[in-house]
């Protein structure tokens, strides 16, 4: 009885998260097309890359005159965290064989957060269910949102007239926001922002964002030295 009720609650949560990211997918689709991506290319990003921060970065860097290498390297560095989520989920979710191929694609911020939130439930299958339901819900609605946004963007004129460039900047801020919980993260964000401001006039587009990753590497290793010794 309670098990079904708990599962139903997880389903409702998963659909709500999917609806929210779906709405966000509309802005991604619109931004990609106004940055010169075709609706097909935009859709392949949402189906294949399927990790929001990397997708927004690919579109912003190529749209801003950055190189192929800068765009791909930034997308991969931003996608690195999904690999780390997979490492921590591999034990509890215990996927076998080809299951891994499917689960891998659904391994993103939202599905991982829901899986972790239900890892201590009395129902032993809850974690797996929460991960799958959230991953599928976000995958479907993010792609539907992308399609809607990409098609709608084709119908409008100058994207700047609608403030879509400011919307893209705010999208990055909204993606950053939930990661600023610790003081260390806030310091890293501030230093990275300052480094970027200094670099923009002196290096080619796309490079400042890549260089900012070094701030994270430096901060992580420097603090790690104290913590492990």
């Amino acid at each position: 009885m309670t098990e079904t009720r708990d599962r139903r609650r997880i389903t409702v949560d998963a659909l709500a998260i999917g609806a929210g990211t779906g709405a966000y997918g509309i802005s991604f689709g619109a931004l990609a097309v106004t940055n010169g991506f075709s609706p097909w290319q935009t859709q392949v990003l949402s189906l294949g890359m399927f990790t929001g921060a990397s997708q927004f970065a690919t579109v912003a860097i190529l749209g801003g005159g950055g190189t192929l290498i800068a765009a791909v390297a930034t997308a991969l560095l931003l996608g690195l965290r999904n690999g780390l989520y997979a490492v921590s989920l591999a034990g509890p979710l215990a996927p076998r064989g080809w299951q891994r191929a499917g689960l891998a694609q659904l391994t993103i911020d939202e599905s991982t957060a829901m899986a972790v939130a239900h890892s201590e439930d009395p129902d032993p299958g809850a974690m797996r269910y929460a991960f799958g339901a959230t991953g599928l819900s976000v995958f479907v609605l993010w792609n539907v949102g992308t399609l809607v946004g990409a098609l709608a963007a084709g119908a409008i004129g100058d994207p700047r007239m609608y403030g879509l460039d400011a919307a893209a900047a705010a999208a990055f801020l909204a993606l950053l926001w939930p990661r600023l919980g610790h003081r260390e993260a806030r310091v890293v964000a501030l230093v990275a922002a300052l480094v970027t401001l200094v670099l923009i006039p002196v290096v080619s587009p796309g490079v400042p964002v890549l260089a900012s990753a070094l701030v994270a590497v430096g901060a992580g290793l420097w603090r790690g030295r104290g913590a492990t010794s």
Partner: protein
């Protein structure tokens, strides 16, 4: 665009898959975890700056900055991220319509 779309998509998928196949002890080292958690923080902060203040290689303060500031206020008020994005776009669009910060 296609090379970036395909290479980025394949790469991001392989990173996810690698996590399920990798030996756990290597990636569970605290330093690797900390660096991997901080990379998106630094890069997203950099992307906010680039998208708000840069036009090619020059720095400018225009309607985008006002839009992002409005989005920041929305985040402080715990707005959902789609509200943040829409508020930022709307403020920038209204300012431009009024002839400021084009």
């Amino acid at each position: 665009m296609w090379p970036a779309v395909v290479l980025g998509s394949v790469g991001c998928y392989l990173l996810k898959l690698a996590g399920y196949l990798a030996p756990r002890h290597w990636l569970e080292r605290p330093r690797v975890q900390r660096v991997t958690a901080l990379i998106p923080v630094a890069m997203l902060a950099a992307l906010v700056v680039v998208q708000t203040f840069s036009t090619g290689q020059s720095l400018t303060v225009d309607a985008r900055a006002a839009g992002v500031a409005a989005g920041f206020v929305a985040l402080l008020l715990r707005a959902h991220f789609i509200v943040v994005v829409v508020v930022a776009g709307a403020v920038a669009a209204l300012l431009r319509a009024a002839g400021w910060g084009a």
